[in-house]
Amino acid sequence: MGLAWGALASGDLFKAIVLFIAFGLVMALVWVRLEAPDIALAEAAIGAGLTGALLLAAFVKLRITSPNVNVDITRSLCGIRSIPVLVSILFLAMALAYAIWPLPPDAAGLGEDVAANLDRSGVSNPVTAVLLNFRSYDTLLEVMVLLLALLGAWSLGMTTPRREAAPGLVLDTLSRLLAPLLILVAAYLLWAGAHAPGGAFQAGAMLAAVGVLMLLTGWQLPAALAALPLRLVLVAGPVTFMLLAVIPLLLEGRLLQLPPAWAGCLILIIETTATISIGTTLIALFLGAAPNKEDQQ
């Protein structure tokens, strides 16, 4: 909590972002403590890693357009005007704590139900089962949300002022060594997602990390891949997911009703395509603008 306060209150924006990344790491440890390694993976990969990279990218772009970005951020609401805000926030915090206080310490969650139906889901990791079988509607929409975010970013049409410095030997070597390892670990996480913590989102984030690394060391999307192939890859995951959602609707009359016998296989297909699409979407979000052919030349 102190870390979060520091991250939000520090005068220097760069410091705030570094603190935010550290905050993500601490959150990941908290998830481990709460026996939720799935979330720890997602938080470490997506929450800390990619959000940090996105924030830094925005920070640098803001700094390039106006070098004094660090000056005007310290000007915030202060003095007498902040007291009502502080008081109402304290009041809200107490109200929230009061709302949590009477909750019974033992509540029957859905854990037993999930455990009872786990063998019909095709996977043995309960979180993956919930994500991709029992409540796959959420996950489908989540993939869509990512895609929509990308569409939003693209339609804003910010082309990034790309001024890549030469990466240098050390950075170059490091990225060349890390990229294959990252891809390997992504594939491992994807495969392990069926029976252990891991899965499409974590693996997608690892793929996105590869892309961020490569972009930072001066790699550019080949012009031939920029238009249609990129878009096809972006929609491959959602489309596969949708198809596998609609086919049961036609056959059995229920959306997203995966037949238990095939569920494991189908989940793997969905997850693989979703991983690739999520990774690509996140890379594209990091890049910020729709790549068009004129820029490439």
């Binding site: 570094v18 790491l25 481990v32 050390v170 670990v185 690892m206 690394l213």
Partner: protein, 95 residues
């Protein structure tokens, strides 16, 4: 053995807590990055200890992801810092 693992993990948690002071104070961005890098390494050590103590192999995967992503994050930060203060470097490396 279990108690040793847990005690060490707790002790390692305290280390970055102290290092936080460097992030807050550290006069240059380099100091902050340094401290952030230590957080990553310590977190990996903590996760490995907890994986052994709690007997859950999954935490070892988390540690692996941590190690990889700490590297990626650090590279990101360094690359952006290099780009954000472009007047301070002429681009070609010593290496």
């Amino acid at each position: 053995m279990q108690t040793l693992f847990f005690t060490l993990a707790l002790f390692l948690v305290l280390n970055p807590g102290a290092g936080m002071w460097r992030v807050l104070r550290g006069p240059t961005a380099a100091d902050r990055m340094l401290a952030a890098q230590v957080f990553g390494t310590t977190a990996v050590a903590i996760l490995l200890l907890l994986a052994e103590a709690a007997g859950s192999a999954a935490l070892r995967d988390v540690a692996l992801v941590f190690a990889l992503l700490a590297a990626v994050t650090a590279v990101t930060v360094v690359a952006f810092v290099r780009r954000a203060w472009p007047n301070s470097g002429s681009g070609n490396d010593a290496g």
